[in-house]
Symmetry: C2
DNA sequence: AATCAGAGTATGTCCTAACAAACGGACATG
DNA sequence: CATGTCCGTTTGTTAGGACATACTCTGATT
């Protein structure tokens, strides 16, 4: 007998049904109720058991496949992925990541200015000549240890930003509070060695390895809201992600 | 008048209708027919124009939203993203990436062995004690310039691999020919400085920056097929990707 | 005994049909 | 003039059905 997935679906909840199923199966996998490698019942039976239509059930499983927790094969069935799957890279700020992990990051604002955008910034954010942006550099520490040196440019026609705010909140959190709905970001990850400016701030040696990230984020109205250039200590930070076929 | 998206849909083609739409819209965006920032007609009208049902049209647009070419907003509509969106990180090998970009990579096989898997490899590939794997290290050059130093472990119960094959084909191409259908991979990207072994092979100095990537790939039967540890010259390689909300 | 064909099963694609919810602008009201 | 309400538009969610296709296993044929 297959695993009985005793999910409870609340049809009066504002949470979409398919998402309730996603959460239920995720929980079942993380608690070990659904073992890695085990096969799920077929879509139609599962849908019937939960009194859902097949498209709804399938949409839920689609999400789980995309997030890498399940693999499907036509004519065969759907399995829980046997490996420990890490959460795919998400559109979140480092601050969010760290607080989610239970750490307590602190932020030092090194510079802060409200200035006219220079040419590269105007291009990255699609701004007209003369447009102004917030420009600031921050140093993020976790447990007193420096982790990241971040330089950002944010368009100023969205929400007010000041130095005090940046000390207590992540940039993305501030922007979200300001009504920005992020939709996507393009980023590039590479490596450099620490220079004489970066090394002392990150409390490492010039010549040590740093992970670099350049990112530009777009909101739901298609505006390029923010662009940044971050460097992380190579000995304490790396990017984990799950790539899914198709 | 909105952009007339004169897509042609071939209902006798084996290519799914929704995918034909995806390709058509992608092409329209890349050729500039659909300008960045422009609004698409609504889903229902577009579907009607192509004689498709709304779910099919919507599935196509879902994919485009996921790949970062479009952004949607309820009550408003769907827009072409204004920024140049890079192709999201895909489940492909470096060799594929380079050949797609028109470069002509060459591969040197530095070591090749068919050996018993050690403990970390057994764990990464979920193998039993005593299981054997192919283990090899390769140096990849583009235009005569070294780019990547790659060390891989591949389970041996899938397809035969030999040194000559590795010289002429990418690993993923070999495995796909062997019947492997990759579904997902988890990877981690970081930074180190080149050591005395890596530097001469990559024709760089010890102490220069390298991008590191560790990856484990899973196929459609849930098997962990391959795991590898690659290093790239930091001055000539970086990972680009698009992150999409939700 | 080995190979091939077919049945059964599960996912993949596609359709019609509704209703819900969020957004933006127009209009009415204080 | 400012504010709140309503309404049309557009995407979001859900249902139920039908057929296609790929895979596995089993039984029949050579």
């Amino acid at each position: 007998m297959a695993n009985q997935l005793r999910l409870s679906i609340d049809r009066s909840s504002p949470v979409p049904l398919y998402h309730q199923v996603v959460q239920g199966i995720e929980a079942a996998i993380h608690t070990g109720l659904l073992e890695p490698g085990s096969r799920l019942e077929n879509e139609i039976d599962l849908a019937a058991q939960l009194n859902l239509s097949r498209p709804t059930m399938r949409k839920a499983m689609d999400e789980l496949v995309r997030s890498g927790l399940l693999v499907r094969k036509r004519g065969v069935g759907t399995q829980v992925v046997s490996s420990q799957v890490r959460r795919p890279l998400e559109l979140s700020s480092l601050y969010d990541d760290l607080t989610n992990n239970g750490s307590k990051p602190t932020t030092e604002v090194l510079t802060f200015a409200h200035i006219e955008a220079d040419a590269p910034t105007r291009e990255a954010l699609h701004l007209a000549t003369g447009a102004k942006v917030y420009h600031f550099t921050r140093l993020r520490k976790v447990g007193g240890k420096p982790l990241a040196l971040m330089e950002n440019w944010v368009r100023d026609d969205i929400t007010h930003i000041d130095e005090d705010l940046l000390k207590t909140q992540g940039l993305y959190s501030i922007l979200r509070s300001g009504g920005v709905n992020f939709r996507l970001a393009t980023q590039r990850i590479g490596a450099v060695v620490a220079n004489d400016y970066q090394a002392p701030l990150l409390e490492t040696e010039p010549g040590s390895a740093l992970v670099t990230m350049e990112r530009t984020a777009v909101d739901d109205t298609g505006r390029n809201v923010e662009t940044g250039h971050h460097v992380y200590r190579g000995d304490s930070y790396s990017f984990e992600m799950t790539l899914v076929q198709r």
